[in-house]
């Protein structure tokens, strides 16, 4: 675990770049993390990120299927917002740990 300077704030991250302390997250950090993943953050992305943070706080196991059913975006839309790794990338940008589900 190391600290990284993102958007002017010192943030704890693990070796894969996932935030280890979700409470340090801000929208500015999300924008920087998104840039690292070649994504230009929009409101759509933020909506998904905020949903993921809520669910993570509740302790629910996150899956692509769950996000697709949340009503925010369908699964095709999710792949469009976060190409090449929808759940992994959105979790990183949302400042929550790497997802462990296979679905």
């Amino acid at each position: 675990m190391t600290t990284k300077n993102i958007a002017g704030i010192s943030v704890d991250v693990n070796e894969e770049g996932y935030m280890t302390n979700p409470s340090q997250w801000t929208e500015a950090i999300a924008k920087e993390l998104a840039k690292e993943e070649d994504i230009e953050l929009t409101d759509e992305h933020l909506k998904v990120a905020k949903y993921l943070r809520e669910e993570h706080e509740k302790g629910t196991v996150l899956t692509v299927r769950k996000v697709g059913k949340s009503g925010l975006v369908d699964i095709k839309g999710l792949y469009k917002l976060f190409p090449g790794g929808p759940l992994k990338k959105s979790s990183k940008i949302a400042g929550i740990p790497k997802p462990t589900s296979c679905v």
């Binding site: 090449g84 992994k88 679905v103």
Partner: protein, 168 residues
């Protein structure tokens, strides 16, 4: 001096599903979905009994074998007696139990799973030989099936670096 090995991530997986039991079909589907979730291209080829997974009438009614299935155990780990597996209704009951456990883990039914895989860019094909054998036409198959092709066609789609063909 140690040579630094260049990382060569997987770019494409081509999965062939030839069996129709629920565990065999789900193995292929989870592998394909897992691939597209990681940004890896995935192509699925269903053949022989695997066609059940993409046949509209059968896809959500798959079963697991309870007779002669040496890997099947009762809850608690006691071996599953074959004579029990033969009784009417047991196969359907055990299969329903398996389906429920998968649903609890948020693993979708086959048709929804195919939706998810194709939403991620996965491609689904049916085997021409098998569809001829089982007398199936494209209308009998899921709308996600792109085409009925031969194995030769599928091999052509499997070309390229960092591609793996997986048989289940």
């Amino acid at each position: 001096m140690v040579e630094k090995k260049e990382k060569k991530p997987l770019k494409k997986v081509c999965i062939i599903c030839a069996k129709g039991a629920i565990e065999d079909v789900y193995a292929s589907l989870v592998m394909a979905n897992g691939a597209v979730m990681e940004g890896i291209e995935a192509k699925l080829f269903f053949t022989f009994f695997g066609l059940d997974a993409i046949t509209k009438k059968k896809m959500n009614r798959l079963h697991t074998g309870t007779v002669g299935n040496p890997a099947m155990t009762m809850p608690g780990g006691i071996p599953f007696p074959t004579l029990l597996g033969m009784l009417p209704g047991v196969e359907a009951g055990v299969s329903a139990m398996m389906k429920k456990q998968m649903e609890d883990l948020d693993i979708p039914p086959v048709d929804e799973f195919l939706d998810m895989i194709t939403a991620g860019g996965g491609e689904i094909y049916a085997c021409k030989l098998a569809t001829d054998m089982f007398k199936l036409k494209k209308e009998d198959l899921s709308e996600h099936v792109i085409d009925i092709i031969t194995i030769g066609d599928f091999y052509a789609l499997a070309g390229g670096d960092n591609t793996q063909i997986i048989f289940t």
